[in-house]
Amino acid sequence: MKAFVEVDHLSLQFDNQPEKNILSDVSFQLDQGESLLLLGPSGSGKSTLTFCLNGIYPKELDGNLQGDVWINGKQTADYLPGQLSQQVGVVFQDPETQFCMLTVEDEVAFGLENISFPPSLMESRINQVLEMVHMLPLKKEKIHSLSGGQKQKLALACVLALEPALLILDEPTANLDPVATKDLIQTIHNVKQKNNCSVIIIEHQLDGWTAIAERCLLLNRNGQIFYDGTLRNAIKDQIHQLDSEGIWLPKITQYLLQHAPKVIQNPPLTIEEFSNQEFLWSQTEWKDMKQVRSLRSNVLLDASDISLSKNNKKIIKAISLTAYEGEFIAIVGANGSGKTSLSRLMTGIQKPSSGTILVKGKPIKNWRESDLRKEIGYVFQNPEHQFITNSVFDEVAFGLRIQNKTEEEIKKNVHSILNICGIPEYANEHPYTLSQGQKRRLSVATMIINNQQLLILDEPTFGQDAHSNLELMKLLQERYAKGTTIIMITHDMELVNNYATRVIAVDKGEIAADCTPEELWNKAPEELNQWQLEIPIPVQLKKRWEKGQNYVSTSS
């Protein structure tokens, strides 16, 4: 008998790059009920493989495909249009663009209507799948009123309604905050146990997923499979290639590999596994977390009592805060808590409904726009939004040209900035042709060209592979060392712990906490949960360890 999924020597090229293999000789099998982590750096063809599995390719492909894909004993090309959706269901990365109806129930019904599901049974099926993802009370809601996490659960419900035997999750948590992510993973875990379906998971952040799938399939930059086996063995045998391809490991594993290299023989993938392996504790050399705490010096930005309302909804409620020179501030909080709005108020792109903001002691509204931009840089969530010109060089030069600098000076400055950002060889490319990580660094480049003293970034690390991330943080760290004050919105608590000197937690438009990272981790767990925050791995470990110590000392 054949396996449920059988991919046989699959290669694929797009028409615009006929000589480059997006997928190259990919072969694997997946049994009914078996699950798989599909990992690889950005651009390794993970999403392309997804499209091959659910029959979008070769039907919609502008390019060439060689090899076969068999699902349930039948080639994908032999399925009638639309039929494959009952075998393979996909949840995509962007929760916003997966829907075409306006209400929750209509959206779930859409898929059922497509497969000519009997109308008399539809209602009960819709209720059943909404119940499964705990969304039944929201059945009549409008989709646009849902949160990101709820939208992803709805997308999951839509797919589950078709009862596919294989569920593919293409970075489903990329846009979610840590707590929503945990919730979605838990939901998928339950679904898998209930339906006994196969799951293929494509993710950058592995934490939590390892309990669902042991096996992993690793792709490299050329779209080849370089490993097929358990993740544990992959770490043991392929650690160098994992590292050079920029594939993320679970955070705990990553941390331990840095601090206790011997762990590699049997690397734990979750905190629980780690705590159950007593001997690991003794082997680990605990380095003290480096504490570089800046002294508060000159006030750079001072906001007092600022509020912002939009459509009669209070987004920011009377926030006061002061940013000093030489700080590295992380702003954290749930999706929709007002982090982005707060950061925009600080840059002056949005005016507060009430309250005042002083930049270097002068009210922000009295600054000339062009002078203000020389003080404050802002990097948007989507770097493409900020690009204005047709080449990387012009993009960086733009900020200098509007100041009428000489062409020679511009050239010198631009090249040095491009070098700092690690993209000197792309000077003549169009900004849109860069990779995601490069685009991000380019947008940072355009914002530091004037030696801006304050740099504000809105979720700069989101959706990037490990390499791009590291390079970006290195770049920011360098700027910080040179005296730039940095304010960064992020969901990544490891970053907060590693880099920030101060952390501001925003909850429902108010500042819930404003302290150092250590102080934040010591707050009550209920509070952190309410703000949708998670304690970073090293701190979790340390806490468990201290608890263990206490236990030992009191019992003896």
């Binding site: 995509f92 962007d94 663009t97 829907f99």
Partner: protein, 259 residues
Amino acid sequence: MFLHHLNPSIKALTIGLIVILLALIFDPVTPFILLLFTISLTFIGGRVDVKKYLLYFIPFSILAFGMLWTTIVFADTPKNPEDIISVLGMEYPRESLLTAIALSLRVLSVASLSLLFIFTTNIVDFILSLIQQLKLPPKIAYGVLAGYRFLPMMKDELAVIHAAHRIRGVNQVLTLKERLKQYKRYSIPLLASAIRKAERTAIAMESKGFTGDKSRTFYRRFTITSKDWLFIIIMLAAFTTAVYTSIKLGYFNWYNGEI
């Protein structure tokens, strides 16, 4: 309420029919009676917010008044120049005045009919009913629905791009030429992301088994009931009454090329 529960397609067809019938007639009385009737029906038969309704009605009123004024001022030489009506101390030829009033009441009457439809119909219901009753191909219908979801997203995105370019230090635009240039600059990121989003939506729809095929079942079925027939009869009756009154009063006139 009655109007909200009608079949959207039948409602649209009925209103279209009345508009066509109205176009055949050119006198002040018929559209006036129909206008009064339509507005009363909207508020009796539907749940409509008066403030919002008035807000939508204002532009049509301005348009109608403008037409009234220009038609009087630029009227052809009347056949009976002696036949004069005095309004607010000014004297107008009776013929020109009647033509002008007929014209502007026509505009208002058509406006009120359209508003009756718009205020009592859910767009999704309308499109679903177009597929079910009028055999609109699902490919087009669901495309329109997906596009409808896109509009607010595009609006938000434009605001973000505007802010993003301001941060880069692009000057505020003042002249028309600069403004055109600015829109050209916005169009690339906006289009790039719109195309990407549209592609994602298309792929997501296709992954859920959408083929554009007509053989599909419906979760929400729209049928034609006696209520719909009643609506057609009511509207036609109202129209006939208006025409009859107009004939009785001696104003009735087929449209034959006035204005």
